[in-house]
C-alpha cells in the first residue's frame, strides 16, 4: 500500500484554493428567520428536543442556529435596527480547526467529499472540537435526549416511544456523550452519488439538496457543487455581496453569506 506524498493532504499547502465539492450560499437579504430550516434539519437528522430548562441553558440540540444582533440599542427606540438573520450551521471548513484537536479521529476530514465528518460512534466526548470551532457550530448530547422515554418521563412511559417511529434510518441516532453537527445532509449526498454511480454519471447540480435548502420558503439557502462553475451555488457566490465568516482564520469555510441591503 504505497502512500503518494504529493497529495495535498501530505503537503499541507493551505494556499490550495477553496476547492471542495459541496458548498452553500445563504442570502441574508432573503432569510426571514422563520426557522423552517431548523425544523427541517431536526426532522431529517433525528435531532432530539431537549425541554425548556436545558434549552434555556444553551443545550438545545438544533444543528442550525439563526443568529441576530441589534444595532443602535443605546439610541432612540425608533433607530433600533435588527441585523439580518444569519442561519449558522457547520461551515465544513477545508482547514477545520476542530479536526486536529480530536484525540480519537472522531472529527476527521473526508478527502473524498471534502467535508468535515463527525463520526458519532468514535467520539469519546472530550468536546475540544467544540471549543476550537470559531463558529460554535457544534452541539453536544449532554443527556440521552434521543431516548425520549429515559430523559422525559419519570416512569419510562412506553407511550413515549411513539416518537421513535419518525427516526430516519439513514442517520445514526446519537447517544449521550457524543458531539454532533451539520453534515451537509451527507446521507443525501451519499444516496445521490450512489444513484449517479449506478447510472454511470456525475451528480447533476440541483438533483438533490439538503433538508434546509429544500424547506427554505425564501430560497435563501442554495446548496450544490462549488467546484462546478455553472452550478447555482457557484453563480450565487460570485456576487460582490458574498463573504465568509472569520475568513482571517484561514479555515476556508464552504458557506458563503450574501449580505443584506442594497
Amino acid at each position: 500500500m504505497s502512500t503518494n506524498l504529493e497529495l495535498p493532504m501530505f503537503t499541507n499547502n493551505s494556499e490550495a484554493e477553496l476547492g471542495g465539492r459541496w458548498g452553500m450560499v445563504i442570502d441574508k437579504d432573503l432569510c426571514t428567520g422563520c426557522q423552517a430550516c431548523v425544523a427541517a434539519c431536526s426532522m431529517e437528522n433525528n435531532v432530539p428536543f431537549v425541554g425548556e430548562e436545558d434549552a434555556g441553558y444553551g443545550r438545545s440540540m438544533q444543528w442550525i442556529r439563526i443568529e441576530r444582533l441589534w444595532e443602535g440599542l443605546d439610541g432612540d427606540y425608533r433607530e433600533v435596527k435588527m441585523t439580518d438573520y444569519q442561519p449558522l450551521m457547520c461551515q465544513q471548513c477545508h482547514n477545520a480547526p476542530c479536526e486536529p484537536v480530536c484525540p480519537v479521529y472522531a472529527s476527521v476530514h473526508s478527502m473524498s467529499e471534502d467535508l468535515n465528518l463527525q463520526v458519532y460512534n468514535r467520539c469519546v466526548g472530550t468536546r475540544y472540537c467544540a471549543n476550537n470551532c470559531p463558529y460554535q457550530a457544534r452541539v453536544f448530547n449532554w443527556r440521552d435526549y434521543a431516548d425520549y422515554r429515559e430523559t422525559n418521563t419519570a416512569d419510562n412511559d412506553p407511550r413515549w416511544s411513539v416518537f421513535q417511529n419518525q427516526l430516519n434510518p439513514d442517520v445514526t441516532v446519537r447517544r449521550r456523550g457524543v458531539m454532533e453537527k451539520c453534515t451537509f445532509c451527507i446521507q443525501r449526498i451519499h444516496q445521490a452519488e450512489n444513484q449517479a454511480k449506478a447510472e454511470g454519471r456525475e451528480v447533476r447540480d440541483g438533483e438533490f439538496t439538503t433538508a434546509c435548502a429544500q424547506a427554505c420558503p425564501a430560497n435563501a439557502i442554495v446548496f450544490g457543487r462549488i467546484d462546478d462553475p455553472e452550478s447555482m451555488v457557484s453563480l450565487a457566490a460570485e456576487t460582490s455581496r458574498g463573504s465568509r465568516l472569520h475568513e482571517e482564520l484561514r479555515t476556508m469555510p464552504r458557506v458563503t453569506y450574501l449580505a443584506g441591503g442594497a
Binding site: D54, Y57, G58, R59, R65, E67, R68, L69, L88, P97, E99, P100, V101, C102, P103, V104, Y105, V108, R122, C123, V124, G125, T126, R127, Y128, A130, N131, N132, P134, Y135, Q136, R138, V139, F140, N141, W142, R143, D144, R175, R176, G177, V178, M179, H246, L249
Partner: protein, 476 residues
C-alpha cells in the same frame, strides 16, 4: 553513638544564631531518628481516625456517587453547556497538575542543585506529586462524555485498525501525564527502598510482610547503594524536563485553540510558573500540617525549611506576576477585538470579583508576607499564605477556562457558566487527596531518614590525622 566530631561552624552565621538550630547541624544518632520516624508512623490517635472517616465519607459520596451519577445521567447534570464546554473539570485538571509539579520541583531540582534544606521533605513533596496526578487523571476522565470508551485514546493495536490522533494536544496530554505519573511514582519508590528496609527491620506482623515485600531484600551493600544513587540521579535529571513539558502541554490544550483569550504564545512558561506557584504554596501547607500533627516531626521540619520554601514562593510569585502581566499587556495593547473583549469581560464582567481576588491572592499576599524573614519562618503564617495563593491560582484557571470559553467570536452564543455537580466532584477530589495522604502517612515513613542522616554526616567535621576536614561525601 556520640559523634566525635564537632559541627561545622558556618562562616557567615550571625552571632546570636545557635548552629544547632539547623537540622544538618543538629544530628541525632540514626537509630534514634529511625525510632522517631517509626513512632510517628505508628502513633495514630482517635482524632486521626475521625478525620479519615469524614474524608472517606466525603470521597464516597462527593466523588464516588457523584461520578456514577454523572456517568449514568450524562454530562447534563454538570453545569457545562454551549459555549462553555469545559468547566471546573479542566480547572481541576490544571490545578492538580500544578500541585503535583511542586513535588518534582522539590525532590528533583533542589536535589540537583544540592539545596541541603530540601532533605527532610522530598518524600512528602514527591507523594504530593503522585496523588496530585491521580486527581488530575480522575478529573480528565470525569469530563469525558463517554468515559467507558476512553481506552480508545491508548495507542494499542485494535481490530478497528484505527489509532489515536497524535495531532491533538489531548493526546500529548495523555502521553505526558501518563509518563509523568509513571516516572514520579517510580521516583517516589526509589528513595523509599532503604527506608522500607529500615522499617522492615523494626516492625512486626502485617507491616513486616508489607515492608519486606516493598524492601525488595535491600541490605545496603555498596552495589545496591551505587545502583540506587545512580538511578536516583538519573531520575532527578530526567524528570525535570518532563515536569516542564507536562504543564507546557497542559497549557497547549488552551494555547493551541484558536480562541480569543487562549491562543497566546506565553501560555507555556506562564502555566509552568503558575504550577510552581500553587505547588510551592501547597508544599508549605503540607509541611505545616505534617509539622503540627505528626509526632517528632518538629525535629525534622524546622523553621529554616519554611524559610527556604517562603523564599521560593516569593521568587515564583514574582515570576508568575511577570508572566501574567506579559499575557495581559500584549493583547490589551494590540490584540484583536475579541482578546480585548475577553479581558474586559474578566475585569468588568459580572464575575469581576474573581479577577480582583485572583490578583490579591497571587501577588499582594505573597509579596506582603514573604519578604520578612521572621514571618517567613512562622509555619502557620506561611501555610495560610499558601492556602490563599492556591485559592488565587484556582481562580486564575477559573478565569482562563470557563470565563475564557464564554467569550468567543460569535456574540450570539455568549452564556454564563453555572457549575452543577462539578462542585461536589471537586470537593470529593480534595477529600481524596487528603485521605490518600493521611493513609500514606500510616504506611510510609514520610521523612527519608537515610537522606537526612547522609546530609548530617556530610556536615560533620572529621579529624583525619591532624587536619579537621569536612568529609563531604555528598558535596563534591
Amino acid at each position: 553513638m556520640t559523634s566525635l566530631a564537632k559541627p561545622l561552624a558556618r562562616p557567615h552565621a550571625e552571632e546570636h544564631e545557635d548552629p544547632r538550630e539547623h537540622l544538618m547541624h543538629d544530628p541525632l544518632p540514626r537509630g534514634k531518628m529511625n525510632e522517631m520516624v517509626m513512632e510517628a508512623m505508628h502513633e495514630t490517635n482517635w482524632k486521626f481516625w475521625v478525620v479519615t472517616g469524614i474524608l472517606a465519607v466525603l470521597v464516597a459520596t462527593c466523588l464516588g456517587y457523584a461520578w456514577y451519577y454523572l456517568i449514568d445521567k450524562g454530562l447534563g447534570v454538570a453545569g457545562v453547556n454551549m459555549p462553555v464546554f469545559w468547566g471546573i473539570f479542566l480547572v481541576d485538571v490544571v490545578f492538580w497538575i500544578g500541585i503535583s509539579h511542586a513535588g518534582t520541583f522539590i525532590s528533583a531540582i533542589l536535589r540537583v542543585l544540592k539545596v541541603e534544606s530540601r532533605r527532610p521533605f522530598t518524600r512528602a513533596a514527591e507523594l504530593m506529586t503522585t496523588f496530585g496526578l491521580v486527581q488530575a487523571a480522575i478529573s480528565v476522565f470525569m469530563h469525558m462524555g463517554r468515559v467507558w470508551l476512553s481506552y480508545w485514546m491508548a495507542p494499542i493495536p485494535n481490530e478497528r485498525m484505527i489509532w489515536p490522533d497524535f495531532h491533538s494536544p489531548l493526546m500529548w496530554d495523555f502521553m505526558a501525564i501518563s509518563t509523568y505519573l509513571l516516572c514520579s511514582t517510580m521516583y517516589l519508590f526509589l528513595p523509599l527502598i532503604p527506608d522500607m528496609a529500615m522499617a522492615r527491620d523494626r516492625s512486626t506482623g502485617w507491616r513486616k510482610t508489607l515492608y519486606k515485600i516493598l524492601g525488595l531484600g535491600f541490605r545496603g551493600t555498596e552495589g545496591e547503594w551505587k545502583n540506587l544513587t545512580t538511578a536516583m540521579n538519573l531520575f532527578a535529571f530526567a524528570i525535570i524536563p518532563v515536569m516542564f513539558s507536562v504543564h507546557t502541554i497542559v497549557s497547549w490544550d488552551f494555547a493551541m485553540a484558536s480562541r480569543p483569550g487562549w491562543s497566546s504564545t506565553v501560555f507555556g512558561p506562564y502555566f509552568v510558573i503558575g504550577a510552581l506557584h500553587s505547588g510551592m504554596a501547597a508544599v508549605a501547607i503540607v509541611l505545616f500540617l505534617l509539622r503540627s500533627t505528626m509526632k517528632h516531626y518538629k525535629y525534622f521540619i524546622r523553621p529554616e525549611h519554611f524559610d527556604t520554601i517562603g523564599m521560593l514562593m516569593l521568587l515564583v510569585s514574582m515570576a508568575w506576576a511577570y508572566f501574567y502581566f506579559n499575557d495581559y499587556i500584549v493583547p490589551w495593547y494590540g490584540g484583536d477585538v475579541w482578546d480585548k473583549l475577553f479581558q474586559e469581560w474578566a475585569e468588568k464582567g459580572p464575575l469581576w470579583y474573581l479577577w480582583y481576588t485572583m490578583l490579591f491572592c497571587n501577588i499582594v499576599v505573597p509579596w506582603s508576607i514573604l519578604w520578612n524573614k521572621k514571618w517567613r519562618r512562622t509555619p502557620w503564617l506561611l501555610a495560610s499564605a499558601g492556602i490563599l495563593i492556591n485559592v488565587g491560582m484556582w481562580l486564575e484557571r477559573y478565569i482562563i477556562i470557563p470565563e475564557g470559553l464564554t467569550i468567543n467570536r460569535m456574540p450570539f452564543t455568549w452564556r454564563l457558566y453555572i457549575p452543577g455537580v462539578e462542585i461536589a466532584l471537586t470537593v470529593g477530589m480534595f477529600a481524596l487527596f487528603l485521605l490518600l495522604y493521611m493513609l500514606a502517612s500510616r504506611v510510609i515513613p514520610l521523612i527519608p531518614v537515610w537522606e537526612v542522616q547522609e546530609g548530617q554526616e556530610a556536615h560533620l567535621l572529621r579529624k583525619i590525622g591532624k587536619a579537621e576536614i569536612p568529609t563531604l561525601s555528598e558535596l563534591e
